[in-house]
Symmetry: C2
Subunit: 325 residues, 2 copies
């Protein structure tokens, strides 16, 4: 929930002078999103989405994020498309911040994802991975295995206040992940944050938004993130039917290799660690008066514990392909 930067009609009007999208009719700050400031905008040419990038988004990464959306849209992936400026750029400056306009994507994110949503998002993720194959740019994942320990060290001092015993548990898990993290899996562009609020469904068809964590990494790691994000119930139990639907939807579009299947449990543990750590950091470091709703890190601790008990990908619903087969 975030509008960090208020803008005036005059500022926005001058900004829009560099776009060919008609006259400004209205703009309203959007409560969704925690990283950047987002406005829904109506112009005489239709609805658009305006984002002002706040400090947690590195402006040097914007050509990657926006270039990716553009690339994916031309490949038929349903996602917002950056609107070009009259200088040929996709990023301008507004209220002292980098800012971009993208087309407005209709659709609703599922507050209570069901099996059909999981199947559809699995397919959409695989389509995105295939569409990204010939995207020419790379971006290092700044929240991958090598980044977790430094992030953990920033929260370690207060970790026991959040969950007694967390220091021992997290450090054993980090050591395991560091010792066993896979290598050599198929790589490509991943979304890296495909939670339900980043998938807008319209008449059953998913559209992907918020590519601001996208990066180059193992493709199947993206699927492991989705397993965490889509297939657990509010009581933190794993829903096997949803897991099956997600994995089958993905595999229908892009079949997983045996190595990818074998790596799924540890990647799911890693994905749970990644979200536990960023939530823990925010939990500890977000000032009480902040406008951001803090997300509970222990939700991902619970998922991590579940994944620790998983022997092979069959536990996630890939019954036909045992990791040891």
């Amino acid at each position: 929930m975030a509008v960090y930067t208020d803008i005036s009609e005059e500022e926005l009007g001058s900004f829009l002078d560099h776009y060919g999208i008609g006259e400004l009719l209205s703009f309203k700050g959007i409560a969704e999103g925690v990283e950047n400031t987002n406005y829904m905008m109506h112009t005489s040419a239709g609805p658009y989405f305006l984002t002002l990038y706040e400090k947690r988004t590195d402006r040097n990464d914007l050509p990657f994020f926006l270039g990716l959306m553009r690339h994916l849209a031309t490949k038929g992936v349903r996602c917002p498309q950056p609107v070009m400026r009259d200088d040929g750029e996709m990023v301008g400056e507004l209220a002292g911040r980098p800012a971009a306009i993208v087309t407005y994507l209709e659709g609703m994110w599922p507050r209570r994802p069901n099996v059909e949503h999981c199947r559809a998002v699995g397919m959409a993720l695989a389509q995105m991975h295939l569409a990204g194959e010939d995207f020419g740019m790379e971006r290092v994942n700044s929240l991958s295995i090598g980044d977790w320990r430094p992030l953990w060290e920033k929260s370690r001092g207060q970790a026991e206040e959040v969950e007694p015993g967390l220091i021992a548990e997290a450090e054993a898990e980090l050591a395991f992940l560091e010792a066993n993290w896979p290598s050599g899996l198929p790589r490509g562009v991943i979304h890296a944050d495909l939670f339900p609020d980043n998938v807008l469904f319209l008449a059953g068809k998913p559209g992907l938004i918020d590519f601001y964590f996208a990066c180059s990494d193992f493709l199947v790691y993206d699927l492991a993130i989705c397993l965490n994000a889509w297939c657990f119930e509010k009581d933190h139990s794993f829903n096997l039917t949803k897991g099956m639907a997600l994995l089958r939807g993905y595999g229908f579009v892009r079949p997983l290799s045996a190595a990818e299947i074998a790596a799924l449990p540890i990647l799911a543990r890693g994905a749970a660690m990644r979200f536990m750590l960023t939530r823990l950091y925010d939990w500890i470091n977000t000032p009480p008066g902040s406008l951001v709703v803090k997300k509970d890190p222990t939700e991902y601790l619970r998922r991590m514990r579940f994944h620790r008990g998983v022997g092979s990908a069959s536990a996630y619903g890939l019954a036909d392909h045992r990791a040891d087969a």
Copy 2:
């Protein structure tokens, strides 16, 4: 900044079954507004605005507020129009809250109101007052002179922490206002909260929104509220040119009587008191983790002090009509 109540596509879809406004395409929580939960909604019939009324809005008042908007719209006042349900009602229930849909009003509220905005809002306020003359309903102003002392008592204990000396100053002012509050002025429907963020300008034409403080009171008290809300600079100085523009704009459409002109200074003091008191109450009683941005009560204390030094309405820019003339 407020989305207090999240809703699902399924809930909203069922709610929309009672309206003839097409298929739901998207909805996004709006960051503006502090009292209720607001969503911007796109349907196949166009854009709409959905409000869920939270606890500070009394559901018994909704027929007044929505009926007024409907009445004003039919009289040519640019304002949102409630959409009727298939049962002939304007209010339904969504996520356990009273909820209504209104037409979406294009336009932008001025972050830095200028003289022309003040003139236009003066005219629009007077037009609203005239259009409200034959509106059949009444609603007691629950934030008028008789309500200020009980409200003050709820904050008094912590008032000195906000501004040293506030107890003596506020109580002297309350005593003066209670002893000198006018009577017999022309009454009617007032907006009672016409701040810049409640006026959406499109091509210079103002549109009025957020009628959820509207009530029956002295018409010129509404103008006194606007003097406070529109004609002070960020440094809390009074801008006489803006005052003149506001008052002349109003008087051009609905000339003020001598009694109304004479009452303007004390009504302006009262209006400053009213906003000082509600802000003070919120300042003290809003929990630190709240999503609402607290507004500084001392801004209105400063305005109150300015108004105390005003001898007649000429100080606000009504040069031709001295109160003692």
